[in-house]
């Protein structure tokens, strides 16, 4: 399996350990990731600024995948939705696609509609498959994990075309393949609030704080995320959330490939787990 690896902005800016863990795990699973060093932004920030700028930015990334002759893999749910929505809009509207291609012509590019873009969770779940992952696990984990899907992996379901956004199980299955238990918890498919961080700061801390407390209440020992921004909310901002809510949470947060890598026998430092903000008790993974 071979993919064009689109990083987006949040991961290289704030969560390089997510990229690090993804690369390590992919290598061991023989998933070849080809770099897109000038990949830039997926266009998502422009959805609320200018529709055509957004579409042209996403089309640019899609055209890069076409040029490489590879499907695109993202690790940010925002990026995957941004690319999927733009693809759907342009693939179903020839007039729109030709308008956007006029813009792309200025940078010597063209979008033909021949490329797919998908999130790493879907690459693992749909392309690699549970069977192969099960075989790759050499150190089954004895952990209780809470899956946080990330809104844009699932919604809007008509455009994403993956799972029921109120009853998804892919990330839970990906957790359980490591030997860990995926716990159910109240409001499991609720948002982390990340996108409102600049404008509704206290509110979004309450949103992610409530979620963390729901996870903890259900017995989770670890939170598992599949998006750099969700991870910022739960890990990076956990201390700020604790002080706002005047409560102790203390839940370590793993990027999914960090969890999988541990179960594949990799060292925590190799997976960048030492760079996570909320420290994880080594006893949790010494089984």
């Amino acid at each position: 399996m071979k993919y064009a690896f689109f990083l987006g902005c949040q991961t290289p800016f704030r969560k390089t350990n997510y990229e690090q863990a993804t690369r390590k795990v992919a290598e061991k699973l023989e998933i070849e990731l080809q770099d897109m060093p000038d990949g830039g932004c997926c266009g998502f920030p422009y959805e609320s600024v200018n529709e055509h700028t957004y579409l042209a930015m996403a089309a640019r990334v899609l055209s890069m995948g076409e040029e490489m002759g590879l499907p695109i893999m993202t690790i940010c749910t925002g990026c995957s939705l941004s690319l999927q929505r733009a693809k759907l809009a342009m693939d179903s509207d020839d007039e729109l696609r030709s308008e956007i291609n006029k813009v792309l012509a200025k940078i010597g590019r063209r979008y033909n509609g021949t490329v797919e873009a998908k999130h790493m969770v879907r690459v693992l779940y749909e392309d690699i498959g549970m069977e192969a992952l099960r075989e790759a696990v050499s150190r089954p984990l004895d952990l209780k994990c809470a899956a946080h899907y990330g809104c844009h992996l699932l919604r809007p379901s008509e455009e994403v075309r993956f799972e029921d956004p109120e009853d998804a199980s892919s990330l839970d299955q990906l957790i359980e393949v490591t030997g860990a238990t995926a716990v159910d918890y109240y409001d499991k498919y609720a948002c982390c609030g990340g996108n409102g961080i600049a404008t509704f700061t206290e509110g979004v801390y309450r949103m992610s704080g409530e979620k963390l407390l729901n996870m903890k209440g259900a017995g989770a020992q670890v939170v598992v995320t599949a998006c750099p921004f969700c991870n910022v909310m739960f890990d990076t901002n956990q201390r700020a959330i604790e002080s706002l809510l005047e409560t102790q949470v203390g839940l370590p947060v793993l990027h999914y490939p960090q969890l999988l890598g541990l179960a594949m026998g990799m060292d925590p430092a190799e997976l960048g787990i030492d760079k996570n903000r909320v420290k994880m008790d080594p006893a949790l993974i010494s089984s």
Binding site: L7, C9, Q10, P12, F13, R14, T16, N17, E19, Q20, R23, D35, P37, D38, G40, C41, P45, Y46, E47, S48, V49, N50, E51, H52, T53, A56, M57, R60, V103, L104, K106, I107, R109, C151, H152, R155, P156, S157, P165, A190, C191, G193, G194, N195, G196, A198, T199, F200, G203, V204, R206, M207, G272
Partner: protein
Amino acid sequence: MDVKEKIALETAKLNLSHCFSCGVCTGGCPVARLEPAFNPRRFLHEMKLGIESGDEIWYCVNCLTCQERCPTKVAVADFLNLLRQESILSKGAPAFVKAQVESLKKCGFAADLGNERDNKKREAQGLTPLQTTDEIATIIAATGGDIQ
């Protein structure tokens, strides 16, 4: 083209006229639960009455729950994007949007990446360097996406 005209053009595309005011969008909204001033159903009615909504339209966390659950398939979250686009044209963009746009024009990423300092940090972590691109600046200029 004023706000009302432009939104009228989008009405069909986003199914805005399907709304029968059931309130599911607002009932399931995680922002509305914490901040009653944020009310997607009200924003839709304000638009229909030609009233400009307040700055709380920027509280949206873009979780798309409203759009997912709407029984008449109104593209509620896309409508909120449209309101924000219009708000930028009439009142200017919030500081965080301006900062993102500046960064995109400068390096092609929404954050300061691809520079020597950042690439050194990446190298130390065993990661390959990123490259800046001016293609995004060209796209922004060609689509009228620049904001001041």
